[in-house]
């Protein structure tokens, strides 16, 4: 091809580009492989699984492991499948997300706009809180909840999730609000807004992107949590992850790998679903909070 340079520059396939595609392909395969194995294993019957061709497609599709994982598999002494765990997880996640996101938004708003005395100290405290591994606080918190009489109850586990979510969420909200033009806040004060009114009428309507980020973080975090659910939820409120563990860790009988796989996929569906529907918002929210406004 020969010509005088004119118009759009022609695009060539460079070595760098080929390398990039290869890299992307390898990454995709790397992450898809386990999912592939999980899905096909869940669709095999036990005889075929024992044949040990882990990567082969099932010769005959069998779906029985799915309903079994959902409603019949044994989690300890009861054999009701994951269903009760699913509803427990919803009962834990929904209030925890609402309370922690709501409180963090108010905290972030106060930190960003109402520079009270000690605000910087509080800000530092949040930073500190966000980076402490929560395992070190499990035992003291357990004693506190026990003293309050809410240990091993639904409110108990909700409180724990709210407490652990708030430092990082407060920081996220604060950083987002700091990026909003301060003049808006000033105008609202002159227009007669007080602390609550400005938050409700001016700040909340602008908080959609960051709220979505916070909700995604909290939903996936709380749904995937195992340790806190195991320790604080109590026998009646065990979340799905704890029950999944009970299904998989059988001490007696036969390990039904197809049921284990179905149960695992079922448990991870909620976070997956949340990412799929909100991916676009997630990126937008991260950008809005991180770069600048």
């Amino acid at each position: 091809m020969s010509s005088i340079p004119s118009g759009p520059r022609p695009k060539y396939l460079t070595v760098g580009r080929i390398g990039m595609y290869c890299f992307i392909l390898v990454c995709a395969l790397f992450f898809l492989m386990p999912l592939y194995v999980m899905v096909i294993t869940s669709l095999k019957d036990m005889d075929e699984i024992r044949a040990a061709n882990i990567l082969n497609l099932p010769k005959e599709l069998s779906f029985y492991s799915w309903p079994k994982a959902w409603s019949q598999a044994c989690t300890g002494f009861v054999c009701e499948g994951l269903k009760p765990g699913f509803f427990n997880s919803i009962k834990i996640t929904v209030p925890s997300v609402i309370v922690s996101v709501g409180l963090s938004a108010i905290n972030g708003y106060a930190l960003a706009f109402w520079r009270f005395k000690g605000a910087y100290f509080f800000f530092g405290l949040c930073m500190f809180g966000a980076f402490i591994p929560y395992q070190v606080m499990v035992y003291p918190l357990l004693k506190i909840e026990d003293a309050l009489g809410i240990y091993s109850t639904l409110p108990g586990i909700i409180l724990v999730h709210t407490i652990f979510g708030m430092p990082i969420l407060t920081l996220i909200f604060r950083n987002f609000y700091v990026s909003l033009p301060i003049d808006l806040f000033k105008a609202a004060r002159i227009d007669g807004g007080n602390f609550i009114k400005i938050f409700l009428y001016v700040i909340i309507p602008m908080s959609a992107p960051i709220t979505i980020v916070a909700v995604i973080l909290q939903v996936t975090g709380i749904w995937n949590d195992f340790l806190l659910g195991l320790v604080f939820a109590g026998r009646d409120n065990q979340p799905m992850t704890v029950q999944l563990n009970n299904i998989v860790q059988v001490d007696y009988g036969v390990a039904e790998y197809n049921v284990d796989m179905s149960a695992t996929i079922l448990t991870s569906l909620v976070p997956l679903f949340v990412y799929f529907i909100s991916g676009r918002w997630f990126v937008r929210g991260i950008a809005a909070g991180a770069i600048k406004g």
């Binding site: 000033k186 105008a187 609202a188 004060r189 002159i190 227009d191």
Partner: protein
């Protein structure tokens, strides 16, 4: 404009931590007066406005609005309306909701709100925009809405914080005219912060020129332009700016000496306040230099010509100091032409070198 005070700033101080922004500043603004706070960035003018609005807490002093000590009052209780450089319209609300927000917060009756919005919208010609969101408006339209928001609140005092700085030159001139008209029609007290001297000159009844948190001069635009109180004001006001020559006063000949040139200043109004050998800065505006030949004129060479349409700016120099001369647009000069220039001493300003104060 009456002689009654509308806004009184009494000995206020303000600091951010240890950084002192305002120190013992006082300002008395009359009812119906258009006061412009003018100064370079960082001079404290916006801080002063925010203090008047109640958005910042004073370190010391008092603020009075309409014979009412509002020092400890919330911004909403000060009967003020404020217009911001960034417009600060609530992005999630329509223009109508933006305008009515303040009234709704106060719990005003719906009929009254509608009536007030209608009136303000008519005045600012934003009737067609009422149902739109701020993001669907141009910069000029946004600023009109922002002014409207102050209008509907029946504010006694309007505060403007560089309202035109984000607009392009044409729109700025247009809205400047509108604000001036608004003041003529409403005759509210207005306090207007800007760093743009044209805005200050055209709008103000009085200008308060500020620097480093201090008021350098408080006077009418005319006085400030013609009789700047010190070297800073003289240099800050006027574009192209005033020409300055470092000189020494020779009492016996009533001359000032610049290098080996002499300029007769016997006609200067305050010449009697000057002492022999006093070091001074001689200031003269470009339009107060004439091309004229007589025994007092100075001969020099044209070094640069800037035609600006209405006028032409001719640059030359005296003893190495650049001098600009503003002439008619039709005047015709070429590079290296020999010219004789004559200063209009009546309109010149002379400052003491040390104190930088006007003599």
């Amino acid at each position: 404009m009456s002689m009654k005070s509308s806004v009184e700033v009494k000995n206020i101080s303000f600091s951010y931590g240890k950084t002192e922004i305002l120190n013992d500043l006082s300002l008395d603004i009359k009812e119906g007066e258009f006061m412009v706070l003018l100064g370079p960035s960082g001079c404290g003018k916006t801080t002063l406005l925010n203090c008047i609005a109640g958005l910042l807490d004073l370190t010391d002093g008092q603020i009075w609005i309409e014979d009412d000590n509002v020092t400890w009052k919330e911004p909403k209780d000060r009967h003020i309306g404020m217009v911001f450089q960034s417009y600060a319209l609530y992005p999630s609300m329509t223009v109508e909701k933006n305008l009515s927000f303040g009234l709704r917060m106060m719990g005003t009756a719906k009929d009254l709100i509608n009536e007030k919005i209608k009136k303000a919208a008519n005045l600012l010609q934003i009737n067609e925009l009422l149902k739109r969101k701020p993001s669907q408006l141009s910069g000029g339209q946004r600023q009109r809405v922002a002014i409207g928001r102050a209008l509907v609140r029946d504010a006694k005092v309007f505060l403007f914080d560089e309202p035109l700085s984000n607009l392009d030159a044409k729109l700025r001139a247009e809205l400047r005219y509108e604000i001036k008209k608004l003041h003529r029609d409403l005759s509210n007290t207005m306090i207007y912060v800007t760093h743009d001297q044209i805005e200050a000159m055209t709008l103000a009844d009085r200008i308060s020129v500020m620097k480093d948190g201090l008021i350098q001069q408080l006077d009418t635009p005319k006085q400030i332009y013609n009789k700047p109180a010190n070297l800073f004001v003289a240099g800050f006001i006027g574009s192209p700016s005033m020409n300055f020559l470092n000189a020494k006063f020779d009492k016996s000949n009533q001359n000032i000496i610049v290098g080996n040139k002499q300029i007769d200043i016997s006609k200067y109004e305050n010449i009697n306040n000057m002492i022999n050998d006093q070091k001074v800065v001689f200031g003269i505006r470009p339009e107060n230099i004439n091309i004229e030949k007589n025994e007092n004129s100075i001969q020099c060479k044209v070094e640069l010509v800037e035609p600006m349409g209405a006028d032409t700016l001719v640059w030359t120099s005296i003893e190495g100091n650049p001098i600009s001369i503003r002439l008619e647009g039709s005047s015709n000069f070429n590079l290296n032409d020999e010219i004789n220039i004559l200063f209009d001493i009546n309109k010149s300003s002379i400052f003491d070198s040390k104190s930088e104060e006007r003599i």
